[in-house]
């Protein structure tokens, strides 16, 4: 089977051409570095993505705090995790890197703050 992928690891966005049998890569072309191959393997077996979003803040200088998953999540869990996060709020003050939701949906992945938020009145 032939398959074309766009590597999303870096902005070069290599166009990867694969020949595979079942899910084993027999030939790979177009990746400019070795990360491309690893990406292609993951993409065939279990595509993962990092998630970035926001959480509502209570008692902060900002209304929202930007957050990310500290590891990649299985792609099909992005929407379920979003629905779970919609139920949560974070209490200010918040430090950058602080875990705001641990082990989200039993994935072992934490949701952490990507900016500091000091105490305030949510202007």
């Amino acid at each position: 089977m032939r398959k074309n992928l766009t590597c999303i690891i870096c902005p070069l966005s290599c166009q990867i051409r694969l020949s595979c049998v079942d899910k084993d890569i027999k030939r790979i072309e177009g990746a400019l570095c070795s990360k491309g191959r690893r990406y292609a393997e993951k993409e065939l077996h279990c595509p993962t993505r990092s998630l970035t979003t926001t959480l509502e803040v209570i008692g902060g200088e900002q209304r929202l705090v930007s957050v990310k998953s500290d590891q990649e999540l299985p792609r099909e869990l992005l929407m379920p995790v979003m629905r779970q996060l919609a139920k949560l709020k974070a209490q200010a003050p918040i430090k950058i890197g602080q875990v705001l939701a641990a082990d989200i949906l039993d994935t072992g992945v934490n949701i952490v703050a990507t900016r500091p938020v000091s105490k305030g009145d949510n202007r």
Partner: protein, 411 residues
């Protein structure tokens, strides 16, 4: 009362932060950084997605994380920052008027760095016929609403323009539970990076309509739908291809232009190709001592490149302050066939010089040819060229013959 500073930096986004820190490290004691918003960091604060910092930090950071690194450096270097302050006027004599809650301030400086960033084009919105109901936003405004203000601008979206911000917003809106009916692109190829087509559109089954545009906006008080149609090879609408889509919001992501209202009023000459000031390799504009860096100069696609170049501009401004003067441009650099623009547009001193440019259409196996007068000084093959990807090449100019023109061409 007039305040005096050695260096004034206008704009506290990634470019201004990096330039201010670099100038401080190069020995400038007295720096004032002015930012319009209440926090430093500029547009990065609303760019909550990741992919920043791969070149400099070798990891993929989110926009706010990237900004925070430089905000901390500014704080550690004890640089004076005025946030919530709008510069209303800049003169060729390096005087500014700035307004904030404490009143109006007149400040003069030995050198000024312009780092005001860019704004979104809205021209397409003006050109679309139909009514003007609520529900039409630029992608960046919608990004600001959702990521900073916790406001959702609509439920069913059409996005016009396939630049990176439009693609990233398509994913963001979908994650937040809205429906994105499609992203429309007038050209036969997308405006954003291929990785964003994959991770922002394909991952969420959002259709990309190439060679399509919005021909009409419907709705009285609120957008009720848009008409879309195919675009022919000459850019006209193909008859018989129009159809109506019901939506409540139209987002425009049709490009960015450097924000140069202040520069223009100060008499700074702009390049009509980039929309930013004409500069030499140090970032100096036609007014000695006034420098420009970041998106005010030309719109970058990777913040790491922007940071590195802004740091160099900060150091150049420090040299100017020490020496009290700078070299004047000797050579012009021009975009030849197949090239959209080149920065810098002028060269003042011999040495190794980095040229940044964009091609005007995608292509494969093309030669980049750089000439000095008639002589070819560099030739490089590129497997792939793509307008959204800025190309940077270093050329060695051991000596400059004044009046010569350096030309970059695509063959």
């Amino acid at each position: 009362m007039q305040l005096k500073r050695e260096l004034m930096v206008i704009g506290g986004g990634p470019a201004g932060l990096a330039a201010a820190v670099a100038a401080r490290r190069a020995g400038v004691r007295d720096i004032l950084l002015i930012e319009r918003e209440d926090c430093l960091g500029g547009i990065l604060n609303q760019c909550i997605h990741n992919g920043f910092g791969r070149e400099i930090f070798k990891e993929s950071l989110t926009g706010p994380e990237y900004a925070q690194i430089f905000i901390e450096q500014v704080q550690l270097s004890d640089i004076e920052c005025w946030t919530g302050t709008l510069v209303t006027e800049l003169t060729a004599g390096k005087r500014i008027i700035a307004a904030n809650s404490r009143g109006l301030h007149r400040i003069c400086a030995q050198a000024v760095i312009l780092s005001m960033g860019c704004r979104e084009r809205t021209r397409a919105a003006v050109d679309i016929p139909g009514t003007r109901p609520a529900g039409i936003y630029t992608a960046g405004v919608a990004q600001n609403f959702i990521n900073l203000r916790n406001l959702m601008p609509g439920k069913r979206f059409i996005i016009l323009g396939s630049g990176d911000i439009g693609l990233i917003m398509a994913r963001r809106l979908t994650l937040e539970g809205a429906e994105v009916l499609g992203v429309l692109e007038k050209l036969p190829y997308p405006g954003g990076l291929p990785r964003n087509i994959t991770q922002c559109l394909e991952d969420f089954n959002i259709p990309l309509y190439l060679k399509h545009t919005v021909t009409d906006i419907h709705g009285k008080h609120r957008v009720s739908g848009v008409s879309i149609a195919k675009v022919g090879p000459r850019g006209g609408i193909l008859p018989g291809t129009t159809r109506k889509l019901a939506c409540d919001t139209l987002l425009l992501s049709v490009g960015l232009i450097p924000e140069n209202e202040l520069s223009k009023a100060a008499g700074i000459k702009l390049d009509r190709l980039t929309g930013g000031p004409l500069v030499d390799e140090t970032g100096q504009t036609n007014i000695p001592g006034i420098y420009a860096c970041g998106n005010v100069l030309h719109v970058y696609d990777i913040v790491d490149q922007l940071t590195k170049e802004a740091e160099a501009v900060g150091r150049a401004a420090a040299c100017y302050i020490k020496a009290g003067q700078s070299q004047l441009p000797l050579l012009r650099v021009q975009a030849g066939s197949g090239i959209k623009y080149v920065v810098p547009q002028q060269i003042s001193a011999p040495g190794k010089r980095l040229l940044s440019f964009r091609v005007d259409t995608p292509g494969q196996n093309k030669y980049i040819v750089i000439k000095s007068g008639r002589k070819i000084i560099k030739r490089q093959i590129k497997q792939r060229v793509n307008p959204p990807e800025l190309i940077q090449l270093e050329v060695n100019l051991p000596e400059l013959s004044p009046g010569n023109i350096i030309k970059v061409e695509l063959k």
